[in-house]
């Protein structure tokens, strides 16, 4: 019995790590620009599909490296052409814009790559379990968790130690003051959005290896990401980190005792947080309220 629980806790952390990566990208964009990126799941899918298209020429590792950056580039273009125009307006418009964008991107994915599910080839070395006892931990999952850890640490380091990162963090608190201090806020927002899309694209490549590719793949991950952000605390990246891990673990552990409720438990946690501690686990009072 303890072995079963141990297995599932480990499993939960692996699942949670994945939610974290996706939610962090969403959270970054939300915090600085006050934009809920409904198309985030579609950027994820885009990252995966680009990796699929590039892997015959660049190999798996090349595709893994390049497609997040390509996704970030497309995100940059989207931000410059469209999202930038509506920052100063009512939040309803940014929601609708990304909502419409999600539609267009999903349809484009279906048009370009077809409605059928596509398999993403993994290098053979990754597709096996590490030992026969821990059979459910394949090298790929360890690889995924490693990539997530590297990305998260990298992100936090970037925000902490670089000038741009500092500006982003400051901008989350008070964009106006940052602007008056001479920072080009427009460039900052564009960069931030692209960074969020980079994380989404990376999630997509990782997801593709795990669950394959299809035009709707982003939809299922969008809601848990939202919830991770709310549960952790809107405005706090650390909160999002904890939120993602928490719901990943909860989902995995619930599958042990009551599998059909493994999705419900995420919403139950959401309601509990909204009732008991609306600002989230790590959130700060007054943030975005």
């Amino acid at each position: 019995m303890t072995q079963l629980i141990l297995f599932n806790v480990t499993n939960g952390l692996i699942i949670g790590a994945f939610y974290v990566l996706m939610a962090l990208g969403l959270s970054l964009i939300l915090n600085l620009s006050n934009v809920i990126n409904f198309a985030h799941g579609n950027f994820l899918a885009l990252g995966g599909y680009l990796a699929f298209t590039l892997s015959p020429t660049l190999g798996y590792w090349g595709a893994l490296l390049v497609s997040p950056f390509l996704t970030a580039l497309i995100g940059l273009a989207v931000e410059r052409l469209m999202i930038r125009r509506i920052y100063n307006r009512d939040p309803v418009y940014s929601l609708l814009l990304t909502f419409g964008l999600a539609f267009v991107m999903q349809d484009a994915a279906r048009y370009i790559w077809g409605p059928n599910g596509l398999p993403m080839g993994l290098p053979a070395v990754l597709a096996q379990p590490i030992t026969s006892d821990l059979f459910f931990i394949t090298y790929y999952r360890i690889f995924m968790v490693t990539v997530v850890i590297v990305a998260v640490v990298g992100l936090f380091a970037f925000l902490r130690y670089t000038r741009v990162g500092l500006r982003i963090r400051a901008g989350t608190f008070d964009l106006e003051t940052v602007s008056t201090l001479g920072v080009n806020v427009r460039h900052l927002r564009t960069f931030n959005f692209a960074l969020g899309c980079l994380l989404a694209g990376l999630s997509g490549v990782l997801a593709a290896g795990q669950i394959g590719l299809n035009p709707n793949m982003g939809d299922e991950l969008l809601m848990p990401s939202f919830i991770a952000i709310i549960v952790g605390g809107v405005g706090s990246l650390i909160g999002t980190l904890f939120g993602g891990l928490l719901i990943g673990m909860a989902a995995a552990l619930t599958t042990v005792v009551y599998p059909s409720a493994s999705e419900a438990v995420i919403y139950a946690i959401l309601m509990a947080v909204l009732l008991i501690r609306p600002r989230g686990l790590v959130g700060e009072e007054g943030m975005l309220s």
Partner: protein, 416 residues
């Protein structure tokens, strides 16, 4: 020209327009052309966008191919056939709306659809109300030809009972009687598992299983449980992409070395989305293209490939059969009237060039379910041809697997 003349003319024009509109709204046909030139319209409602789009598109492809074929051979009752395809977007409201559109505005003679069983059922309520002939090519939920059967609704694809009863003896023979189920938690999953449990219990077996959310992506917790239970075979009842993920994770964890793998449907579209190591297991197919001993099939596949550059899947065959069914019913009834078509189709046997398989393929009168063969066999990585991923070992006659009409719970109510 004075203003009053203009307004008189405008008024007359408006009145004429209203009259025209009223006549159309009332439904009196504005007969300009002879009836023979008016095409026979068949409406198809399918989820062309959304998670089921791959399967829906295959059905549409099969139906369009049949449309061209029928028109080349003279159409239905001497009139050309026109297939009108509408997207239900995997949403019931849209599906019902499109059905009404096809019936009220486009005046179709028959309705085909939907892959999504919930939508198929909602559509059948509309078609039943309006007395329109309705064929469900690929919506699998049992009540459509069971407890909710209707006089105007016929179905091509199998019930879960048929699939489960067909494959269970093979699985028991090959692997054993201790099973573990991985099932999606909704109506189709429940009825499928119940059907399997019934068949397994008859064979004296035992089982355990997990009911998972429909869109579940990670199966590790369930597979951990399965491994601990040490079954003879794992039954993968998940559908679509979740089925593929379960297969992939199953093989990634190396579990195929310890237990067998099988289930009911593992469709060609899904198999092609799997990496080679996950293309495995024992399954049922509702139709399979590779039947070298049946000349009609060989010809059909060759012609279809020449026309579309694709190999036909079971879903393509569903669409194809549905269109030809309308033709055959119309030819027998010598009419396009809903009740007459339904009556003509009961107990009708499909000719070999439509059935495309050996044996007698009949629309059973009691529940309006088509009784084809069920192809039971093994899925494997492609042998040469990219579509050669399945080898049938037995063909189980549908009627044998389906049980009696009384078992389905269907009580057919004839039209008033």
């Amino acid at each position: 020209m004075s203003i009053s003349t203009l307004s008189v003319r405008r008024r007359t024009l408006l009145q004429a327009g209203l009259a025209l509109g009223a006549s159309q709204a009332v439904g009196a046909p504005f007969v300009v052309r002879a009836l023979g030139d008016e095409p026979v319209k068949i409406g198809m409602v399918n989820p062309l966008t959304g998670v089921l789009s791959a399967l829906a598109q295959s059905e549409v492809d099969g139906a369009k191919y049949a449309e061209a074929e029928i028109n080349k051979k003279g159409g239905i009752l001497g009139r050309q056939v026109q297939l009108l395809v509408e997207d239900s977007a995997n949403d019931v409201g849209t599906g019902v709306q499109k059905t009404r559109k096809l019936i009220d505005r486009d005046q179709v003679n028959a309705i085909l659809g939907d892959v999504n069983s919930g939508i198929a059922y909602a559509m059948s309520q509309v078609t039943n109300e309006k007395k329109v002939f309705h064929i469900v090519p690929g919506g699998h939920t049992d009540p459509i030809t069971g407890t909710n059967c209707k006089w105007n609704v016929f179905r091509v694809c199998n019930t879960t009972t048929m699939d489960a009863e067909a494959v269970t003896p093979e699985l028991v023979k090959k692997f054993g009687k201790k099973w573990f189920f991985v099932t999606p938690d909704y109506a189709y999953g429940h009825t499928l598992q119940d059907a399997f449990v019934k068949a397994l219990t008859k064979a004296g077996g035992s089982y355990e299983g997990d009911m998972l959310p429909i869109n579940n992506t990670d199966f590790s917790a369930t597979l951990i449980k399965a491994k601990a239970y040490k079954p003879n075979v794992l039954l993968n009842n998940m559908g679509g992409l979740t089925q593929i993920n379960c297969m992939k994770q199953f093989t990634q964890f190396g579990m195929q070395n310890e237990m067998g793998l099988g289930g009911a449907l593992f469709e060609l579209e899904s198999v092609k989305g799997c990496p080679p190591e996950a293309q495995t297991g024992w399954w049922t197919y509702e139709w399979w293209w590779n039947q070298p001993n049946v000349p009609e099939v060989v010809k059909f596949v060759a012609d279809y490939r020449a026309a579309t550059k694709n190999t036909p899947s079971a879903r393509v065959w569903f669409g194809y059969v549905s269109m030809h069914t309308v033709r055959l019913a119309a030819e027998k009834a010598k009419s396009l009237d809903g009740p007459k078509l339904a009556q003509a189709l009961e107990d009708m046997e499909l000719p070999p060039d439509v059935a495309l398989q050996p044996g007698k393929v009949i629309y059973r009168k009691g529940d309006h379910e088509l009784m084809p063969n069920i192809f039971v066999g093994e899925v494997h990585p492609p042998k040469g041809n990219a579509d050669d991923v399945f080898t049938a070992s037995t063909l189980v006659p549908g009627e044998q697997a389906a049980g009696s009409v009384a078992d389905t719970g269907c009580k057919m109510v004839e039209p008033s």
